[in-house]
Amino acid sequence: MISKVVKCPKCSYKTTVIGESGKKIIITCPKCNTKGNYLFPEEHQQLTKTSDSIAIEVNGLIKTFNGLRAVDNISFNVEKGEIFGFLGPNGAGKTTTIKAMLGLIHTNSGEIKINGYDIKPSGKDAKKFVGYLPERVAFYDNLTALQNLHFYAEIKKSSKEDCITLIEEFGLSDSVNKKVGTFSKGMVQRLGMARAILGSSPILILDEPSGGLDPRGVVLIRNKIREMKNKGTTIFISSHILSEIQEICDRVGIINKGVLVAQDTVSGLSKKLNLKPKITVELEKMSDDVVASVKKVKGVDKVEKIGKSIDVICDPKTKAKVILAIETAGGNIINLYTREPSLEEVFMRFTEVK
């Protein structure tokens, strides 16, 4: 239901009408009895998307270091409840953007809002909603893991009781009362994740969360991210590893040399980029039969003959079928290797288009 004030075209009398958007009604002017049609405006997706549904809003962000633009006019929105992947090679400007989002650095221009609060004048309010895992995780080395988390819980005004549970959840039960100065890099990273989650902030900002972690730690943190997402947490996660982000994100933004070169859903992006692995099959003897039968396999995009080997671009799932097709056609496979599309290729493709 929306209400609108309409003006009679004849006598200019103003009256308020109520109705559904997109519906047409006939209005009779209460003053001069003129009849007229009125169409309630369509609720435009873009217009009605009030800042209520946006967790993070970055607009025209520019940051220079000694004249060099580390972040060059970046704008994006992160919807509430989504996982947004911020992808880019080392030095692309991810950390700089994140630091600006939290008011850790001063920007040359641009506007940043967290849950509607501008980080510049209302930083303290804005930061109430955020849990943050910095790129370089550090604690107070003289204090124990528990003392450290207690300190952060006090300032976040969150429950101190949760601290021990959190430390245990991240596999540090044996080290609750050990000084953080004695921790390994992986342990510090885990404790860092516990600190970010502390107080269940509605927005999580994670700068390369798998940095310094062993595979088990990576899985632990990935599961935690999924768990938080299911609780409705908005998650902003930066990474320079495509595969790491692909699996868990709803949308990704790609940043290269300070410029946001793409912003899309993961599937949309894969489609755009045609992100398929390339399989190179080395054969004992090249034959046209083999090439022809590989081409026939469903899911194969491209087949290329190079000397005694063939390059096949196909869905990862069709790999087995391709091999079977080669062997049925009498091909003798000597060697086979798969190459995933590298992030560099992705950036190249985007910057080429530009």
Partner: protein, 277 residues
């Protein structure tokens, strides 16, 4: 009204620093030296009236050691956390930047005051046992003035800790500051005076008023003036007795010490606010 993040940070600084081995070592050194000075001062004295040299000895001790403790507590307070990386996390919490500075200043100031109280407490007991007519109010003023002096060097170091990009630079400037206020500045002032009134004037101890005004630029001189003006009889260790001009008053001295503290606190807020972490 003190908001709670300030208290949380202050508490954390105390927890973090009471285990700092340098703080412990310097506290022990300070306490032992005050014990020695007060013991020998009090066993050879007839009473408080005759206590000037002991007070002067403690004053020299304070001027020598308290700046070191203040500088040591402050030089890494900000840059140390930035270099380490923990400042990013601290600043991502709902705290204002000035609250971080105030919290650290109160916490570190608390540690410093604690050190001073231990040293003076020990000396106080020794003096109390050996001297019959101790003026305890004088002694409290002495302690208060010493805390103010320590806070000046603390906030000076904290300011340079927010100014510089490296912990090592901040440490270097702290060492320099100690030499500057303890050695360089006094030599410059005496040099200026010697050039003006000659060696005979210098020996007579009859210093011109402008010299007394000039020395007020050095917080160490302001401190010793404040103690001399209040704490009974003070004679310098060198035996030269100096009479102060009329514009020297406790109020003026306290005001100058407070201006140093508040001034550098404001400068530190200002600088920290502009800093990229």
């Amino acid at each position: 009204m003190i908001s709670s993040p300030i208290l949380n940070i202050a508490k954390k600084e105390i927890l973090d620093n009471v285990r700092n081995k340098w703080v412990i070592i310097l506290t022990i050194i300070f306490a032992s030296l005050t014990l020695v000075v007060s013991y020998f001062g009090s066993i050879f004295s007839q009473g408080w009236q005759d206590f000037g040299v002991t007070i002067a000895g403690m004053m020299s001790l304070v001027q020598f050691l308290i700046p070191i403790i203040g500088l040591m507590l402050g030089y890494a307070a900000i840059i140390g956390e930035i270099e380490k990386g923990s400042m990013s996390s601290l600043l991502s919490l709902p705290v204002a930047r000035f609250e971080i500075i105030l919290g650290k200043f109160f916490g570190l100031g608390g540690v410093l005051s604690f050190t001073i109280l231990i040293g003076f407490g020990i000396a106080g007991i020794v003096i109390g046992v050996n001297v019959s007519d101790v003026n305890y109010l004088d002694y409290l003023i002495f302690i208060g003035a010493t805390i103010l002096l320590g806070l000046i060097f603390l906030i000076l170091a904290m300011f340079f800790s927010t100014l510089f990009k490296k912990r090592s630079t901040s440490m270097g400037i702290s060492v320099f500051l100690w030499f500057f206020f303890n050695m360089i500045l006094p030599i410059i002032f005496v040099g200026i005076m010697a050039a003006s009134i000659g060696i005979e004037g210098l020996v007579s101890g009859d210093f011109p008023e402008w010299y007394h005004a000039l020395t007020l630029l050095n917080p160490l001189s302001v401190y010793s003036a404040l103690v001399s003006l209040n704490v009974g009889p003070v004679s310098t260790i060198e035996g030269i007795s100096v009479s102060y001009p009329a514009f020297y008053s406790s109020g003026v001295m306290i005001l100058i010490l407070l201006i140093w503290i508040v001034g550098f606190l404001i400068l530190t807020f200002w600088k920290f606010d502009r800093r990229d972490i």
